[in-house]
């Protein structure tokens, strides 16, 4: 069978255009009626310094200070989770691996919950981030200290650590039941948490995705198995830990802002693989774009469908991602086996 991906550039270009259109559409949604061309010129002005025809200040503030914040966060979180998921599935050779599998999310959740119950909600993001990094370090060093360290052991350490942290989280919620609602809402994932500045997050996610991209051809070969990878010259013992740390770091940073948005890191890599094959130089950027589009679309649903308005975006991703994923598996399962 001929490969469908003779034109990966075309695929990337068209999905990037789709991403831009989706983002601009989302920027036009809201109580104030602002047209798409206006939105477009505000954004290009703010980001690229393009000339700005006279657009009234209130519109600029609404689009840039309020709506763009949420759209940008959705794109960052979506692409981070999808790229991390792709990386994890390849490195662990496990189709169930997702960015949270090493306990990052549980650590972040516990950190955020501690901030909430202690009344220091302004520290929520920073504590969540510390929690994510701490739990990752514990899992990683525990995994390395086993008699025979292996990927499976690392996964098990992640699951065990996650279960422990979740138990602590439950205990915390049981004791401080008056703040339970706030914690639960954070856990369900949301793009409306207030962030002073997105710049640190942009920097972390950007740098981490670039590092992962640099190792795209290593990942292609690691997908064949660690031993084969070594025979082909990949320094698996260095590349894997580096990529684990980089992806978990950016996931930790995203989770600490958005809470736990499930499913993207699991399904986007599978969808993109079905469309584009397994070459990571195509797979990784395409995952980033698709992840961003998917989360934007999920957020768009909560904002355009009144019945969904009160749902956290994490609920929507799972609610609509699940059936979509079944469909993809059914259709594509026949093709590649």
């Amino acid at each position: 069978m001929k490969l469908l991906t003779t034109k990966p550039v075309l695929l990337m270009g068209s999905s990037a255009i789709l991403l831009v259109i989706t983002a601009i559409y989302l920027l036009t949604i809201g109580t104030a009626d602002i047209s798409a061309p206006t939105v477009f010129s505000i954004i290009t002005h703010k980001i690229f310094g393009m000339p700005n025809p006279d657009i009234p200040m209130p519109e600029q503030i609404i689009v840039w200070n309020f709506r763009w914040q949420r759209v940008a966060l959705a794109m960052l979180v979506g692409s981070c989770l999808a790229v991390s998921g792709t990386c994890f599935q390849t490195m662990f050779k496990n189709p169930l691996a997702d960015p949270f599998i090493l306990g990052v999310s549980s650590g972040a959740a516990l950190g955020a919950a501690i901030a909430i119950v202690s009344g220091h909600t302004e520290l929520m993001i920073i504590l969540a981030f510390i929690g994510a990094i701490l739990s990752l370090s514990i899992v990683y060093f525990l995994g390395q200290s086993f008699l025979y360290p292996s990927d499976q052991q690392l996964l098990l350490a992640g699951v065990a650590c996650g279960a422990m942290l979740n138990a602590m989280l439950s205990a915390l919620m049981a004791i401080h039941s008056q703040q339970m609602q706030m914690i639960v809402f954070w856990l369900m994932g949301s793009l409306t948490n207030y962030v002073d500045s997105l710049k640190p997050l942009v920097a972390i996610v950007g740098i981490c995705i670039i590092i992962v991209m640099v190792y795209a051809s290593d990942l292609d070969i690691i997908a064949l198995g660690d031993e084969d990878a070594k025979f082909l010259g990949v320094d698996v013992n260095k590349v894997k830990p580096l990529l684990l740390i980089v992806t978990s770091l950016m996931t930790g940073a995203c989770v600490s802002v958005s809470g736990i948005i499930g499913f993207i890191g699991l399904i986007i890599p599978h969808i993109v693989r079905k469309i584009a094959g397994s070459s990571h130089i195509v797979l990784l950027p395409l995952s980033a774009i698709f992840g961003a589009i998917f989360l934007l679309a999920a957020d768009g649903l909560t904002r355009t469908v009144p019945q969904l308005a009160s749902l956290p975006v994490g609920v929507v991703t799972a609610l609509f991602g699940g059936p979509f994923f079944f469909y993809i598996l059914r259709v594509a399962g026949r093709r590649v086996s």
């Binding site: 490969l3 064949l224 082909l232 010259g233 086996s337």
Partner: protein
């Protein structure tokens, strides 16, 4: 002939379990060496140690007079290529699989060059699967997959090619064709080959030297005619064999019954 690889007092195995002890041999450019030993004798372990994937328990392996440990993984992969029994991979085309063999030669931040693509195309032609080059590797037959892995090893341009039961699971025609293909590809470039083969007759046909391993030690190392004796075979497998010679070849078969 130039000495390519020396194993000196080499012991291989895993933590707390030595599998082969005090192995000594030298491999020259152009040698085709088959390792003959019963199941579980540690042939694959030996190959992994030579490829630098497994650390030796004792002794040294030198490649081009330099200890194995002084090479980085990338440098080793420029010298040594491995063909195993059956590699499985989803979602890659034949062409992508073969291109992976160029990995140790392509510098980071540089994509594959024109030369890399030319080499890949030539290797795919050499193993006779040009018509499948845009197919998915996972959709090929086992014999075809093995050809792809050989092409991948060829574009690595190694000085030493390791074959770990490259013909396992293949039918008799494929077994023969695969080995003939390898031989044809390596002879002009004087690439040395170490092959783990179970079929003694195939080993006799293709090898310049045989390495016989028994009870963790080298039983015999030398030219096929010299080391394949009824006595050595009896020691290796605990079976009586008959040796046949004719104009074309020497071959062996176990004696059946009384």
């Amino acid at each position: 002939m130039i000495s390519l690889l020396e194993a000196q007092a080499l012991s291989v195995g895993y933590e707390k379990k030595t599998i082969l002890e005090n192995i000594n041999f030298t491999i020259n450019t152009g040698d085709f060496i088959s390792v003959i030993a019963p199941n579980g004798a540690g042939k694959s372990t030996l190959l992994k140690t030579i490829a630098g994937v497994l650390a030796p328990i004792d002794g040294n392996v030198n490649i081009n007079k330099k200890p194995l440990t002084s090479y980085s993984r990338r440098e080793l992969a420029q010298q040594i290529a491995m063909v195993g029994a059956d590699t499985m991979a989803l979602g890659y085309t034949v062409q992508q699989m073969v291109l992976m063999g160029r990995f140790p030669h392509i510098r980071r931040f540089h994509g594959p060059s024109n030369k890399d693509h030319v080499l890949v195309k030539a290797a795919i032609e050499a193993v006779d699967i040009s018509n499948k080059s845009m197919c998915f590797y996972s959709e090929l037959s086992q014999g075809e997959r093995q050809k792809v892995i050989i092409a991948r090893a060829l574009v690595q341009q190694p000085q030493l090619l390791l074959l770990d039961e490259p013909t396992a699971h293949l039918d008799i025609a494929n077994q023969f064709n695969i080995l003939r293909l390898i031989k044809k590809a390596v002879v002009p470039k004087k690439v040395a080959v170490i092959a783990v083969l179970h079929d003694i007759n195939l080993a006799l046909e293709f090898s310049t030297k045989l390495l016989l391993i028994k009870n963790s030690r080298v039983l015999a190392f030398g030219e096929p005619q010299a080391v394949v004796t009824i006595d050595n075979l009896k020691q290796l497998y605990g079976l009586d064999f008959t040796l046949y010679h004719d104009a074309a070849a020497t071959y062996v078969r176990p004696k059946f019954g009384e």
